[in-house]
């Protein structure tokens, strides 16, 4: 299955590009899906260690607001993306030092608390953040090139797709490395890791910081795509959405988050289009069906269809 994954990834990417060309409005939806997919890779990383974070929307919102605040000053996507990633990484390190002391439900809830503190700050510091009205992000130049709207949207789509590939590849390398394998050790039995001389907290902390960086990149891409940021990005429902996507996609491979994010966004868009009153119910039913009949998520389903093991 690991061998088929890159081929499958290229197929999925091709399908996305075709869809984005065929329907211009899907380009927007798919860019958001790619951005969320990148952020969900961070969730996946922590899931490997058996930890579920209910607060990773914090890093998405942080990345998005970094872009919104700094865009008037350093108005270039090529500067803002690394800045958002770096900022989220530093924040992840600070919070990680604290939350990686905890496991399971405590880990999840502490993350949730952090995200909600950030949400409240965004709402309360009205004079700075403009509260729930949010901040508008104008079309920004990319690598010094001032772009027209359609080109800009294609470029962001391209950047998101490229980053998805590069980060997915790096994450695969990481998961196959001793550090990555140690994450699974935290899930099965942490004490054994310590006996082997591997510091469990260090392993988890590095994974946590990485997941924060991924969240920051995802958030920056979301801000550049929707071009309006609101505190809702940091609300607990957004964190739940990330976990939802992770489960929907399946934790087997790095392609899972992207399958999950694309499926999630498309189901939501089509459900909202066909049943404006009841889209939440449809989304909920889809998740229930996946949990009941395909516990490995979409990735697991794909793996079974191809005949390999979905891990």
């Amino acid at each position: 299955m690991r061998k088929i994954e890159p081929i499958l990834a290229i197929l999925v990417a091709a399908a996305m590009i075709v869809a984005a060309i065929a329907a211009p409005w899907l380009r927007f939806v798919l860019t958001i899906a790619l951005a969320k997919g990148i952020a969900v890779m961070g969730i996946l990383l922590l899931l490997r260690a058996g930890q579920v974070s209910f607060g990773h929307a914090l890093y998405i919102a942080f990345g998005a607001y970094t872009v919104a605040f700094l865009a008037p000053r350093f108005g270039d996507a090529m500067i803002l993306l690394p800045l958002a990633a770096l900022g989220a990484g530093v924040l992840g390190l600070l919070i990680g030092l604290f939350v990686t002391r905890y496991r399971q439900i405590f880990f999840g809830m502490l993350n949730l608390a952090m995200a909600m503190v950030f949400y409240s700050l965004l709402e309360k510091l009205y004079a700075i953040t403009k509260g729930s009205d949010g901040i508008r992000v104008e079309i920004m130049p990319i690598a010094g090139q001032a772009l027209e709207r359609v080109t800009y949207e294609w470029t962001i789509f391209g950047i998101a797709l490229g980053l998805a590939f590069v980060l997915g590849f790096l994450l695969r390398l990481y998961l196959a490395s001793p550090m990555g394998e140690a994450l699974a050790g935290i899930k099965t039995r942490e004490t054994r890791l310590e006996f082997m001389g591997v510091p469990a907290r260090g392993v988890l902390l590095s994974a946590y910081v990485m997941s924060a960086v991924l969240g920051g990149i995802g958030g920056a891409l979301i801000a550049m795509t929707s071009r309006h940021v609101t505190p809702l990005l940091s609300y607990w429902t957004s964190s739940g959405e990330l976990v939802f996507i992770a489960i929907l996609g399946g934790a087997g491979g790095v392609l899972g988050p992207f399958l999950g994010a694309a499926a999630y966004e498309l189901v939501r868009v089509y459900a909202a289009a066909s049943f404006a009153d009841a889209w939440q119910m449809i989304l909920g039913s889809v998740l229930l069906l996946v949990i009941l009949f395909a516990p490995g998520g979409l990735w697991g389903m794909a793996a079974r269809a191809i005949g390999g093991r979905g891990r």
């Binding site: 211009p24 927007f28 009205d133 949010g134 929707s226 071009r227 309006h228």
Partner: protein
């Protein structure tokens, strides 16, 4: 000389045709088989108390229009989209409506956040957008839009009118407290009120500024504090369940006997509160469409709308229903104007939008003019809550009507700057009793 087209030129021409916005290509717009309207409104979450009735009103009006042959001979069809999932979803939905469903007009948003995020899309997609309910003054004061118009009043007039009413009817107050929801409207409306109050009646002491969390279900702490502070006036621009809860809890503890409430958005909650709304407090409706309007311009049309709504949904229409109706009537007037300007031919998107600048359209109660910057001038009526035999809920008495132009910041001025320039004499000259 014969001209031949090289392959490259043909490609360029082909791509150019695809890439050029419809408005720039020379092709005349075809009359569509149906006029599609994309409507964004809250269908879930707390603000669905506004969104669901507005959707009902929209469906009812479209049925009525289609029964009468549509607008300019074209039947109308609405596509509804839920605002609740947040801006990144909504921005995508607006694109879907335009690029996939092919809507001709967008009726946009209750929430100011949604409006701020989506209105720039009118420019990018070159589609007419009617902002039918959001109140933020930032839209037209911070930007200029060719394709966006607000078919109703906005925060500045909706806050200033109740303040002028208060200054006229209870001019001797000395202290004021505010209890608003902690989000943009709550903060903005307080800033507008405070700025105007400092200009019109300097020296009023603000004894408490309270912004309980959005979606709070209990106000007992705030009420205890208000009982202790005894402010003369309590302002609250809260709405929905929060306003209902606050009024119920406050009246149980007799807060309304010590202070006068000013509730600019109260109308939508009056039916739920019923008899538990105390009498003699200042209530507003974000416009002039009170169910007991004593002198609507066209009483037959007003009663027809209210009665049709009551008959179909078994409740009185609330202000979002009227705002939705204003957008529908504005669309009818604007589209007919644009068609007439082209001698019956169908207008392009740009021509349609141009017809709305300076448009004056009739509402059953008055007329609304969309001024040069796109902002609508809607009259404001404010009164004191009271009960009569006609309605099982509170309606205003001793009403004052403030013409839209007199309580709106002039074109090109920011509301907060304009409010600072107000003179105390305005209190006596603005508005008239009806």
């Amino acid at each position: 000389m014969t001209t031949t087209l090289s392959r490259r030129e043909a490609l360029v021409a082909g791509f150019g045709g695809v890439m050029l916005p419809a408005t720039l290509s020379a092709q005349p717009a075809q009359k569509p088989a149906e006029l599609k309207i994309g409507v964004t409104t809250f269908l879930s979450g707390p603000a669905s108390v506004f969104g669901v009735p507005s959707r009902k009103a929209c469906e009812m009006l479209i049925d009525q229009l289609n029964a009468a042959g549509g607008i300019a001979g074209v039947p109308v069809r609405a596509f509804f989209v839920d605002e609740a999932p947040g801006t990144d979803h909504l921005v995508g939905e607006i694109r879907r409506l335009v690029q996939s469903e092919g809507v001709h007009v967008l009726f946009q948003s209750i929430s100011s956040g949604s409006c701020l995020a989506c209105t720039p899309l009118s420019r990018e997609l070159s589609k007419l957008m009617l902002l039918w309910d959001c109140g933020t003054q930032r839209i037209f004061e911070e930007n200029r839009y060719e394709y966006a118009f607000r078919t109703q009043g906005y925060g500045t007039s909706e806050v200033l009118a109740p303040l002028l009413y208060l200054l006229k009817h209870k001019p001797d107050f000395r202290t004021v407290a505010v209890l608003n929801q902690d989000y943009a409207w709550g903060r903005d409306s307080w800033e507008l009120w405070k700025t105007a109050m400092d200009a019109l009646k300097p020296g009023v002491r603000v004894v408490a500024e309270m912004f309980p969390r959005f979606g709070s279900t209990d106000f007992s702490t705030e009420i205890t504090r208000l009982l202790a502070l005894r402010p003369d006036v309590i302002l609250s621009t809260s709405w929905g369940g929060e306003l209902v809860t606050f009024v119920r809890q406050a009246t149980e503890r007799r807060l309304h006997e010590r202070s006068i409430f000013v509730l600019p958005v109260a109308e939508a909650s009056m039916q739920i509160l019923g008899r538990s709304m105390p009498e003699g407090h200042i209530i507003g409706t974000r416009g002039d469409h009170w169910n007991n309007h004593p002198a609507p311009k066209d009483p037959a049309a007003f009663n027809a709308f209210v009665n049709a709504y009551r008959q179909r949904f078994n409740e009185y229409p609330i202000y979002p229903c009227h705002h939705m109706a204003q957008a529908v009537w504005a669309l009818k007037a604007g589209l007919e104007k644009a068609v007439a300007a082209k001698n019956g031919a169908w207008p392009s998107d740009a021509e349609l939008a141009a017809a709305f600048r300076g448009l004056t359209f009739p509402t059953p109660t008055s007329t609304i003019t969309l001024r040069e910057d796109g902002q609508g001038l809607e009259d404001q009526i404010v009164g004191l809550s009271s009960f009569n035999d006609r309605f099982p809920f509170a309606v205003p008495k001793d009403m004052m009507l403030y013409p839209g132009a007199s309580v709106s910041a002039p074109v090109g001025q920011k509301s907060t700057d304009w409010l600072k320039t107000l003179q105390p004499s305005v209190v006596q000259t603005a508005g008239r009793s009806i």
